[in-house]
Symmetry: C2
Subunit: 435 residues, 2 copies
């Protein structure tokens, strides 16, 4: 019993909101065929209607008042495209309480308040969908909630932030330092004026928290997720990574070890033959290890008007189909568990360690002995060949790659190294993926 | 209003059926949480219950009669795991008519009879789902039908047959000829005793027909799909591909050009830096170009008990959720169109052409002139360096790479070359992807 028309209200007419409206209106006939009802953009709320935009909408669609959407009983589906949590949190909660289905690509909102909002949706028997919150246009939320519903997901490793991947790719291809590339990315619109959320890993943290909640059916405490950005990665680190057969990527990791979760975001050395090493520029990719399906990878554009608009409209169509069938909230929140997150000190990985030392005979032996005393076992030691000595007169760099070791042990070793007269600086410590 | 229990009947207890049963029973609690009902394997039909199996089921689940499933009013969902179309076609039709939802990973059945069966499902208001029919465990059908429902898909290029990809990968890595690798693949269980369906491209053809029907919303006439297998690819072709910067892959292609479809399955030279070139062994990958989402790629295991079992169980869970909500058939067949498929003679691609010629001065000029006369423009001409002359005394091989040209023109050129005294043989003609 399909309705003739399903009305959508949109709050926020920036990149994402505009992408969604443009797609809903351009492909309206096609979408009507697939839903069985016309899906109509009735009202769009934005504070600034003077700004020139690539896509223009009719005057009767334009509003500056959120309540023009929330209070309108004819609006069935609300797209939240404001970003941030204030006032998005209140607005989404209010829309759900008024029995409107909500679509949002807002990762911060879902990571922080998803459980509460999904419960509201469940009580109101409406949908809350957020495919665009992770991986932009890449279908990942729906495959994980539906296609892999019978699987046991073991591990997710993703490149989920386009800005940092753009920066790291440019650093890798052009040999430039972080700050130079960041400036260029800001000019080109790939990085925000305040880049903190991206380069410090907050954005990736929200996304991996959302994926982990779905994959492991557990509430996720954001404060327990280890998070490290890419600001300390230098051109030298990337050059040495290449010499050792790696690319440097900001990875978001979520794994289940028995009854605890390993959840972290940090720059990582990824072997060049790993599928994630070849994911360049603003592309995102999410690698999933699951039982019994095995390895899966999902690849595509992680941000932008078109990709995120596509994800939002896919969700709107899903909501509309559910409205027509009276089947809203058909895939409810199942985050029943409260699995603890391992402290980073207990996590085991391999490490890349870059030290600046006095260029003296015997220094490698002294450092290696201290590492060994702390049960840090070495895979390789490497003194880079440099055209000119950039670290200082009488000084040299030494690069160390370790076997798997607990974070607590390597941190203790670093403290001991710090006391060694020959060690000027531990210039960087980066985790290493792979065997 | 969830039921306490939803009952599943399974017809066929081979690799796929067993994978599905094992997963449904092993993860029964987890699945019950996600569905809101226990999903119980009530009856399994197979002719042979004496054969030893990796996973054993209780005697009361075992049956040898298909009607024990079809006639049982307590069975809500039927998994068809027989393969082929006889009697699978009749069995699935009967199950749907009796208002049972059906899950099948049977690509031949869906490619040949999908439209009819989806109509039956729609009339009976039950689901027919077939995620496992393409890409094994890779979620691709559901993302295309739901996540990309608002998009306009332009092109799909996939490695969708694990057997041929295993063979081509082994040929590429080990320099062996097709027949040697095929025998090894048969011994190892990666190829069937009768390998025709895989190596001649039928399996890939069924899969691309299913994807095209969903992507373009059109009925697909299987007889109009150009299909060429991998049996003519030699160790020499692969060696020359490497020298030119390509890997050889069996690609299934579906693209929309205005109001016609370009649908074909054939071995293809893929540039080494294309994401599909790195998809090795039994892995599958499907590359989708769509507006506005851009490029997407889905990668994973394309066959086997675990991956296909995972896809089947994902569908069973989806069916079960719909049963609980009275929302079956929520994503109906929308194959309204009857887009024509371009004859292969009209398709434009680039070509690799391997000729065996008399080793005489002037022969390259003569061939190039004939190609030019037929509007075949050349990118490169290449005389491979061989340790020993394997083509015969006084003979030489010449490899030609063309620009984009219509198939009809290159075929006319080949006929003209055939009449040239200096051309002993056109040893192979393979299409080339990329710019």
């Amino acid at each position: 019993m399909s309705r003739d028309q399903i009305n959508v209200g949109i709050i926020g007419f920036g990149t994402v909101g505009m992408g969604a409206v443009e797609l809903l209106e351009t492909n309206a006939d096609w979408i009507a065929q697939r839903v069985g009802s016309r899906v109509v953009v009735k009202t769009i709320v934005d504070l600034d209607w003077k700004r020139e935009r690539r896509y223009t909408v009719r005057p009767e669609q334009q509003s500056t008042k959120i309540n023009d959407v929330l209070d309108d009983p004819e609006i069935d589906i609300v797209i939240e495209a404001m970003g941030g949590t204030h006032p998005a949190h209140r607005v989404v909660a209010d829309a759900l309480k008024r029995r409107k289905s909500v679509v949002t690509p807002n990762k911060e909102l879902i990571a922080k308040h998803g459980a509460e909002l999904l419960n509201l949706a469940s009580e109101a028997k409406v949908d809350l969908m957020f495919e665009g919150a992770v991986g932009g246009g890449i279908p990942i939320i729906r495959p994980m909630k539906e296609s892999l519903a019978g699987d046991r997901i073991q591990r997710i490793v993703g490149i989920v932030n386009g800005t940092t991947n753009y920066i790291l790719t440019a650093m890798s291809h052009e040999g430039l330092d972080f700050s130079a590339v960041l400036k260029d990315a800001q000019v080109q619109g790939y990085a925000e004026a305040d880049p903190t959320a991206d380069v410090e890993g907050y954005d990736a943290m929200y996304k991996i928290a959302i994926l982990a909640a779905i994959a492991f059916g557990s509430h996720i405490d954001l404060n327990s997720i280890y998070r490290e950005g890419i600001t300390r990665i230098s051109a030298a680190d990337i050059e040495y990574a290449h010499q050792l057969g790696y690319e440097v990527k900001l990875l978001a990791v979520a794994a289940r070890h028995h009854d605890a979760l390993d959840l972290r975001v940090h720059p990582t050395f990824v072997p060049v033959d790993h599928p994630l090493a070849a994911v360049n520029g603003v592309f995102n990719a999410i690698f999933v290890q699951s039982d019994p399906v095995g390895d899966l990878m999902f690849f595509g554009r992680g941000a932008g008007s078109g990709p995120t608009g596509s994800a939002v409209v896919g969700d709107v169509i899903d909501c509309a189909r559910n409205i027509n069938l009276g089947a809203s909230a058909r895939v409810p929140c199942r985050c029943y568990l409260n699995l603890p997150i391992q402290p980073i000190s207990e996590v085991q990985t391999r490490y890349y360690l870059r030290t600046v030392v006095k260029d003296q005979i015997g220094v490698i032996g002294k450092i290696a002995t201290i590492l060994g005393d702390h049960q840090v076992s070495l895979v390789s030691i490497f003194q880079p060949h440099l055209e000119e000595n950039t670290v200082g007169e009488g000084l040299a760099e030494i690069v160390w790659i370790t076997h798997q070791v607990q974070e607590a042990k390597i941190q203790a070793a670093l403290q001991a190294l710090d006391k060694l007269d020959e060690v000027i600086e531990v210039a960087n410590l980066v985790r290493v993926e792979g065997k």
